[in-house]
């Protein structure tokens, strides 16, 4: 392949259709589920979509080993169980897992650092697919590189499976600060900015002009409470992924619903306070600082 692939402009799989799907998820909560039963609980609690995966990040962390795309039977059973969109994870660079997920009819593929990477040099060429992709990012350059490869949605990475929100905070603040920095620049400074961000100049210029990413930005990785979700929204996230935080907690249905409410009313402390009552135990957390460097998922992908 010598020419860069681009999306069609009519019919299915257009850029507008792919990015538009993410626009419709805004203000919502996407929940990790590993069974059809969990998917139904999530839908019932008001999730805008569910993420089907084999093991939640907290278990991947605890059990170790190579983590891969889920069993197609399991994904089918989740698609069958709910009417909201179903997302599923493929390993970074594993374009065949992505092909399989597209063939199963999932609504969004997450090329995810939570699974063990399949390629340590290249991410998936996401333009080659009809199904849209969401990718993680820790900073603006990484987000723009994923968008260049065809990602139609970005989520800040955070540190999945920890219940520690600090990395999600760092990534959201970094993205916001880098976008603000571009906004303050003169047009002739954007060439060097693009070089420093290791991202294409046209995307850098677009961000400088609009003050936002060209695709929807969600947050992920370590969100465990309604207040965590509300803080991420106040920091500029357009929606929230919750992984282990729900089904590793004492009362998943109630916590899921509370996080949905807190996401909508993220700027109203009275609502966040009210929904935070009586939720039972939150997931047992791990401090990101206690995780040895090679086991930090956010550092996968580049």
């Amino acid at each position: 392949m010598t020419e860069q692939q681009t999306a069609p402009t009519s019919g299915t799989g257009t850029t507008r259709v792919k990015r538009g799907m993410a626009e419709m998820l805004k203000g919502g909560v996407i929940m990790d589920v590993v069974t059809a039963e969990q998917a139904r609980i999530a839908e019932d609690a008001g999730a805008v979509a569910v993420m089907a995966l084999e093991r939640v990040p907290a278990d991947i962390r605890a059990q170790g080993g190579v983590s891969r795309m889920s069993d197609p039977d399991m994904i089918d059973s989740i698609i069958e169980a709910v009417s909201v969109p179903v997302m599923a994870k493929a390993r970074i660079g594993h374009f065949v897992e992505a092909q399989v997920l597209q063939s199963l009819g999932v609504d969004y593929v997450d090329e995810s650092e939570v699974l063990t990477p399949a390629d340590y040099a290249n991410h998936i060429d996401k333009w080659a697919f009809t199904v849209p992709f969401v990718c993680g990012a820790t900073n603006l350059g990484e987000a723009l590189r994923r968008i260049t490869e065809g990602a139609a949605m970005i989520r800040s990475k955070g540190e999945a499976g920890t219940g520690d929100v600090s990395n999600a905070t760092t990534h959201m603040r970094t993205l916001r600060a880098e976008i603000n920095r571009l906004r303050s620049m003169e047009p002739d400074e954007l060439y060097v900015a693009a070089k420093e961000l290791q991202a294409p100049h046209d995307l850098v210029r677009e961000v400088a002009e609009t003050g936002k990413l060209p695709v929807v930005l969600f947050t992920a990785g370590g969100i465990a409470t309604p207040a965590d979700a509300a803080m991420m929204m106040q920091l500029g996230a357009e929606g929230v992924f919750v992984g282990s935080g729900i089904f590793k907690s004492g009362n998943p249905a109630q916590r899921a619903e509370a996080i949905v409410k807190a996401t909508t009313f993220h700027d109203d402390p009275d609502v966040v306070a009210k929904v935070s009552r009586g939720l039972g135990e939150a997931m047992v957390g791990i401090n990101v600082d206690d995780i040895p460097q090679p086991h930090r998922l956010a550092e996968r992908g580049w």
Binding site: T12, T14, G46, S83
Partner: protein, 206 residues
Amino acid sequence: MTTTATIGVLAVQGDVREHLQALERGGARATTVRRRSELEAVDGLVVPGGESTTMDKLVRVFELQQPLRERIAAGLPVYGSCAGMIMLADRLADGAPGQQTLGGMDILVRRNAFGRQLDSFEEDLHIRELGGEPVRAVFIRAPWVEEAGPTVEVLARVEHGPATGRIVAARQRNLLVTSFHPEVTGDHRVHRLFADIVRESLRERS
């Protein structure tokens, strides 16, 4: 002489910002609605695109369902795109268990009628009420209108492919619905049409 109309966008979930921008560029004053007091202050309302099950859940939890139904029954102009079309339907097919709508429009709407995201598409539609230029219609896991009552005016049908003939835009007095998302295309004619409906209803009241 112009009447300044304030149009709210139901902001519990969905692509609220796009509708606010489209309304403002279409010549209206736009504001978000998440509370009963905010609902009382608007002359018209947009129910945006999003996930209809989530919106239904949130309007019930935050005690907006009844006030919304009352204002719709009293003639509030409302425009629903995609999930918003579902919310305005009197009858719903393929809803989630227990899913409710606000109702108001005498239509049966089938949710996710075109299929999953892989089937989402865009195409040109010709809508007489919007003038000669076709509208670029973006359908995302979209619903369609399966049956429309006698007082419902059909504005557009699918023009190509297996779903040809399905109703994807309709109006019943002050209620307007589209299966597609004009708010993501930069073409504000649908929002302008809705703003006209709102202004007309304000004039009738005064």
